[in-house]
């Protein structure tokens, strides 16, 4: 294929991938003008290239998308879910074309016109829905976002290079030390520095050859979840954590498929429909939580859903019917063992095998794939609450940046990646406190739980606490722990070598590194140590906070309220305290009646006034409502789209004479108006009373 054409293919693929993901992110916050501009520029560039290379069909498609985006940019069109879906469908089609060009095959047939028609402002829902069903397998989308212009290499060659560079780095460090000790050879410094910088660069590149942030795998997930949710008619929020955890590239490729399957499973069989969730008292929006953590020399990848959990009775009977277990065997099984039956081949507990998942070949393949790379997979589930699938993957460690610390004269290595702060005991801003059975440090107004390395290791230290050094390691957004060590000596690149399982199973060490003189230095397993200390509040994610807030009887939130952030009908961001939110409703716009500037709808058999709609606002398609509720009074507030549940970064600052607004809170660094539920409910109630009186 032509060089120029190859470039076009590669660049357009990159643009399309960026376009797709930016679009999904923008959808959550349509008021982000900058992002919209960027998206428009992408679309414009794609159109330009397609025209230049004389692909009229491609040009037509991209032009249609560009036009739709331009209308939104200029404010002559309101974006909605359907439009975004239509644009994504066009992006997928262009992608298919690009693939065909790349592989020199026949361009896919027709259907372009239908896609373009779907983009028109007054497209029929049915048309779009039809498009999505005939759709492009979400799986393929994950694949097209791949690395361009690559070559194949035998892995052994790569490994040889990596270990060569590892040794080079250590040799360089040793040389650096010798130079320092010798002193006085100034003319050597310049050349040495140059060599050192170049080596750092090479090392960086080489590490990247094998290791890759798992975030790259996660990047495609929001889109996949969005598409699946639409297809399944469910509402699912995805929560991703641990994007910075690094894995061997080969391993990432191997878990790509299993991860996809697990997510599909969770969304298809785990998370219930909004109606079902409501009926069991859950929030309509299901949460899918994907988390990657590193502990010892293992990586844990968890897929957690808050859906209906496994029905072990059903699972057991299906397994018996499939001949996998006998009744006697079942009788002797624990709950966890019964849950593990789901990994058996030839089993499907889905009542219908949907196109999305459930052919009974999924879970056993997941387990096989994970075990093939030396890992394991486990399932934990609770009926009614949800399911967690935990994959454990071995880690090939390479060079890690470490801090060298000591306790009682023995050196240890601590990974530098999570270290936020190193504080000397003599620092004026530091105060050490013992409260109850716990130890804490108070540093610049923040109280951090504190662990003594000497206690962790069981080897007493002779250094008084006030003279120790405190290393603050961050675990999650909310958790950090300060480790008190005798001293911090150095920071250096260390090649962490594996150590016997008998030692890693203590939960104290992840490996060992060697100093230049051959002295072994044990690498501390900060992750495990922190987890086992019981001092981490736990994975206090936003969704956990919602649970806590919802169950609190007191509506008075205290300082930083948890709020539902959304886009109002006029396109502006607003928020509503979670304590005031009873439920999220969705109705057909057709149900809304407008009389004399007032919008009403029949909900749950009763006629309700809808707040949040201006006199000229005409809803289309589906209308989202936030239901507020207080002492028997209801009010429904119409919104365009939900963004997320977040914790505000400030207290409510009152003083606003706009009706419906009680004040402002800071979210994401910006002030967001907060809806005054009480006032809205009161005004709706009084208006109803007035209307009643008049009848």
């Amino acid at each position: 294929m032509d060089d120029l054409l190859a470039e076009f293919v590669a660049e357009t693929r990159e643009m399309l991938a960026a376009l797709g993901s930016e679009l999904v992110v923008w959808e959550a916050d349509p008021s982000d003008k900058e992002r919209l501009d960027q998206i428009f520029r992408f679309a414009h560039t794609v159109k330009g290239s397609c025209g230049f290379f004389d692909f009229p069909r491609l040009e037509k498609l991209s032009h249609a998308a560009e036009e739709a985006l331009d209308e939104v940019r200029r404010g002559t069109r309101y974006p909605n879910e359907l439009m975004v879906s239509a644009i994504l469908a066009v992006i997928d089609r262009i992608s298919d074309y690009i693939d065909a060009i790349d592989s020199d095959t026949q361009l896919p047939g027709d259907g372009d016109d239908a896609l373009i028609a779907a983009l028109a402002a007054d497209a029929d829902d049915a048309e779009i829905a039809a498009l999505q069903k005939s759709g492009f397998d979400s799986d393929d989308k994950l694949r097209t976002v791949s690395v361009q212009r690559s070559i194949r290499l035998p892995v052994t060659l790569l490994d040889r290079m990596m270990s060569g560079v590892s040794d080079l780095v250590l040799a360089r460090n040793s040389l650096a030390r010798s130079l320092r000790d010798q002193g006085g050879h100034l003319e050597l410094d310049g050349p040495f520095e140059r060599m050192s910088t170049i080596l750092d660069d090479v090392r960086d590149a080489v590490t990247r050859m094998r290791m890759q942030r798992i975030g790259c795998l996660f990047a495609a997930l929001p889109r996949m979840v969005r598409d699946l949710a639409q297809e399944l008619g469910k509402q699912v929020m995805i929560d991703v954590e641990g994007e910075d955890v690094e894995l061997d590239r080969e391993m990432i490729e191997t878990i790509r498929d299993p991860l996809t399957h697990l997510i599909r499973n969770a969304m298809d069989h785990g998370i219930e429909t909004p109606a079902e969730r409501r009926s069991v008292g859950k929030r309509e929006i299901g949460t899918l939580r994907i988390q990657a953590t590193q502990s010892g020399n293992q990586i844990y990848l968890t897929v957690h859903d808050d859906g209906r959990g496994l029905d072990e009775a059903k699972l057991a009977s299906k397994a018996m019917a499939a001949g996998i277990v006998t009744e006697d065997e079942l009788a002797g099984m624990s709950m966890e063992e019964k849950h593990s039956l789901i990994f058996s081949a030839g089993l499907s507990t889905a009542d219908e095998i949907t196109a999305v998942s459930g052919r009974g070949v999924g879970m056993d393949v997941v387990r096989a794939n994970v075990e093939k790379i030396g890992g394991s997979v486990k399932i934990m589930s609770q009926r009614g609450s949800g399911t967690a699938i935990i994959m454990r993957l071995p880690l090939t460690l390479s060079i890690i940046d470490t801090l060298s610390v000591s306790n009682a004269g023995q050196r240890f290595a601590m990974p530098r990646s999570n270290v936020e702060e190193v504080i000397l005991g003599s620092d004026e801003d530091l105060r050490f406190q013992e409260l109850g059975g716990g130890r804490f440090i108070d540093f610049r107004g923040q109280r951090i739980p504190c662990l003594f390395l000497c206690d962790i290791l069981g080897v007493p230290s002779e250094v008084p606490v006030a003279e120790r050094t405190f290393i603050v390691a961050r675990y999650t957004q909310y958790d950090c722990i300060a480790f008190a060590v005798d001293a911090v000596h150095d920071h250096e690149d260390a090649v962490i070598k594996p150590i016997a399982p008998a030692l890693t199973s203590t939960g104290l060490y992840t490996g060992a590194t060697l100093l230049d003189d051959g002295t072994p230095v044990l690498a501390l397993d900060i992750a495990s140590i922190g987890l086992r200390s019981g001092m981490l509040i736990g994975r206090k994610r936003i969704s956990d906070e919602i649970e806590a807030e919802e169950s609190s009887v007191d509506k008075d939130q205290g300082n930083h309220p948890s709020v539902m952030l959304f886009v109002g009908f006029d396109g502006g961001q607003r928020c509503l305290p979670m304590a005031d939110l009873a439920r999220i409703e969705t109705i057909d716009a057709a149900q809304v009646e407008r009389h004399g500037g007032v919008a009403r709808a029949v909900i749950d058999g009763a006629m309700h006034r809808l707040a949040g709609l201006g006199p000229d606002d005409v809803p289309e398609g589906k209308l989202r409502l936030l239901r507020m509720n207080d002492a028997g009074q209801d009010a429904y507030y119409a919104i365009r789209a939900i963004i997320d549940v977040v914790e505000s970064e400030s207290e409510v600052s009152p003083g606003c004479d706009i009706a419906e607004i009680s004040g402002y809170v800071i979210i994401g660094g910006k002030p967001v108006p907060m809806i005054d539920a009480t006032q809205i409910m009161a005004s709706v109630a009084s208006a109803e009373r007035k209307a009643e009186a008049e009848r």
Binding site: Q410, I456, L457, V459, A500, A502, T506, L508, V521
Partner: protein, 162 residues
Amino acid sequence: MIEQGELILIVEAADRLLAVRAVDVASVNEIDNVVPVPGGPDYIEGMGAQRSRALTVIDMRRAIGIAPQDAGKANDRSTGQQSDGRCLIVSRGDYHYALRPDRVLDVSPAFENSKPVPKGLGEAWARVSRGVVETATGSALLLDIDAILQGPERASTKIKAA
């Protein structure tokens, strides 16, 4: 399962002659710079190093499960003899170990095929033995290296109390 003529490495621990197949041992080296592993099991002496490999150094006596002072009856071979620090280096995949006996003695071919483990060795010794082999130095107990690497039964459930 040693055949006549196979090379055997003979070591001594707790006054017993012990044997391992020479091919199972990567090398025999002095390992001095051993750092302790706080919180690790008793039978693991610490971490050592050899040619940029981290070694887990195992005290053979403790790994077998006999108390260090239990040298049994006084015996000519052990009186006044110091250990020379030499260890048997073995590997299991990515993990490298140094097994420290009281002394490393010799390498010799087996005089005849090994015989099965006799009765009455005691629980600890029985766990790590695979047979008896005759060598130039005398009758030696053939060791199961993996059983030694695993450590005594107790170690798997009990980590050295801090």
